[in-house]
């Protein structure tokens, strides 16, 4: 149960090594935080990032979780709950970027990306939402992306998975109205993280900490969608209506 200040006791990070996800966890830490559960496909990497959180004085549990392994998601969730009780905030942060246009020419790679970023995310979200609904409280933070706002050729499979996930998460949030559980959709632009390492930064590039700050403010004020940075909301109001021939030529990285 969150306390009166929206400070959670138990936080679940799906994609336990995600730079943005960990930044959100850190921004949520407070004296009431009891447990952070890092759900990772590579537990060894999870244990590495757990160290700094444990130094901050929280109890960290690293559990095995593969976003692609959808049949296991409900079991992972119920084990987390059996061990730690109610989840106050769950952050869905796992995802992959793919290899740009090349992924769009490789059947197996395209299907794999769609499977992890969309199918896996849908599966983990539904499993989490069911638990939040049973508790009558709690929030699910879904990391969408501006890449799904208007899909561009440079990473169109990735963008399409985020477009699908964004729509799904909005609808999930609507379906949870009245249940006590809520969904916050976060739409970052280019973020300097492991995912984008080595790539040229796009305009309005930001950092995981900045995204986290915006996400946490959104949670506390009861928002349903936030953009990071906030200006991208207005940028995309325009970009959404740019004619196709011009859109294809825009230098958006």
């Amino acid at each position: 149960m969150d306390n009166a200040f929206g400070q959670p006791q138990t936080i679940l990070l799906l994609g336990g090594t995600s730079d943005i996800g960990l930044a959100i966890v850190r921004a949520l830490l407070s004296p009431v935080t009891r447990t952070v559960v890092l759900a990772c496909r590579d537990r060894g990497r999870g244990e590495q990032v757990a160290v700094s959180l444990r130094d901050a004085g929280v109890q960290v549990d690293v559990v095995h979780f593969d976003g692609a392994d959808t049949e296991t998601h409900e079991t992972v969730l119920s084990e987390v709950i059996a061990t730690h009780g109610d989840i106050d905030v769950a952050i869905l942060a796992f995802g992959q970027l793919g290899e740009g246009e090349a992924t769009g020419r490789d059947v197996a790679a395209a299907v794999h990306l769609a499977h992890v970023n969309f199918t896996g995310a849908v599966s983990a979200s539904v499993a989490t939402a069911n638990q939040l609904r049973r508790q009558g409280h709690g929030a699910l933070v879904v990391l969408s992306s501006v890449a799904g706002e208007r899909v561009r050729k440079a990473n169109f499979v990735y963008g399409a998975t985020k477009a699908g996930l964004d729509g799904f998460a909005q609808g999930l949030g609507d379906s949870l109205v009245g249940s006590g559980a809520k969904v916050l959709v976060v739409r970052p632009g280019f973020v300097h993280s492991a995912m984008t390492r080595g790539l040229p930064a796009a305009p309005f590039a930001t950092t995981p900490d900045k995204v986290a700050e915006i996400a946490v403010a959104g949670l506390r004020s009861g928002r349903r969608t936030v953009w990071a940075p906030g200006i991208l909301r207005y940028v995309f109001m325009v970009l959404r209506h740019v004619p196709g021939p011009i859109w294809r030529r825009l230098p958006l990285g």
Partner: protein, 455 residues
Amino acid sequence: MFTVSRSSLTGWGRTNPSVADVADVLAGELPSVLKEAGPRGVLVRGLGRSYGDAAQNGGGLVLRLLGSATDAVLDRDAGTVRVGAGASLDELLRILVPRGFFVPVTPGTRFVTIGGAIASDIHGKNHHVEGSFGNHVVRLSLQRADGSVAELSRHDDPELFWATIGGMGLTGIVVDATLRLLPIQSSRMAVDTHRITDLEALFATMAEGDEHHRYSVAWIDLNAKGRQLGRSVLSRGDHARADQLPASVAVHPLAYGPKQLVAVPPIVPRPGVLNHASIAAFNEFWFRKAPRQRLGELQTISSFFHPLDMVGSWPRFYGRPGLVQYQFVVPFGQEGTMRRVVERISASGAASFLAVLKRFGAGNDAPLSFPQPGWTLALDMPGGTTGLGELLHGLDTLVLDAGGRNYFAKDAHTVPETIRRGYPRLAEWQAVRRRADPLGMWQSDLGRRLRLADD
């Protein structure tokens, strides 16, 4: 038959909501209703006047006991009343006062149920002489998780009796109770008011004069700093005797008819109209309005005990972030800690609309009862104040180091460890609870947040 509706519930502070299946039930229906309990368990809710999440059970069943004080049985000779636990003090006072009796303890609002008063073992302005609500409960009947109803008193299963008093609804549902009453000659209070310039003077005046009055409480302006730190208005009173009444009142000495003057509409512009400026202005006004000293003034029961009840749903003034109430007690001899707490709040700039200081007398046998001999401070703060969580966490540490503790009925922020330090008899209470409810049917958000049931 009872109907269940899925509703979002908060406490009086309107902070951390959760959704539960809520149903109004008659006491007689309870055994069959309890069979419907799911894995999230059952909780009884009174009038929702606890500030935090004590009367919530997210995802579970929340029951409200039907029944009113009109069924109450008054025994004039014994000076007791037997009343259903779903009845409110408001209803009960309307029956008792005209008949020359008063409830043994009343909080700052009369809109609490008998069940809620027992479950929080509430205290009033008379704690320094008469203790808390539980001290005046002669017996009670408790709906147990297994469907049976237990008769409890100081002689019949005293352990479960005392675990239920202050037990926050986690030992079962109090169905009815017999209370010892106070005979009164009039419905008026004879009140002495003193304006006090600082905290040291307040401690001294209260320590010395409180015992001469049944009721005593001081209102502190927490926005005042420096030399004015702790400036306050001390108000002490007793039930007026018939011979103290002027002729106009003496015709109907026991007349009683409290009214609500206004209610706050559901829509208040966010983030609320109570902010630092408006709160500081109010406190200044309140302090200046009080006379330097006024003795023997006659007041009504509602203006003396329940001034806030004149404005319905007043927390709405705080807007969306709601309000947080913080109440703790520190033992006598820890006046320095109380001073440090007041200094920290005053320095933080976190505005407090009403801060109330009171001296507690002896505690009772209930393991989770809040009052213990010492000083208690209760304050309201806008939930949206930045850094408030950290401020209160720091204050918790000061309070615990001084041997004090927090009050469950007000809490919406603290952590399980705080409770373990502040309530050393928690484990004892847990053992009684396990015996009474081995399957853990009684559950609440507060219980889960503070891990009250398990260790």
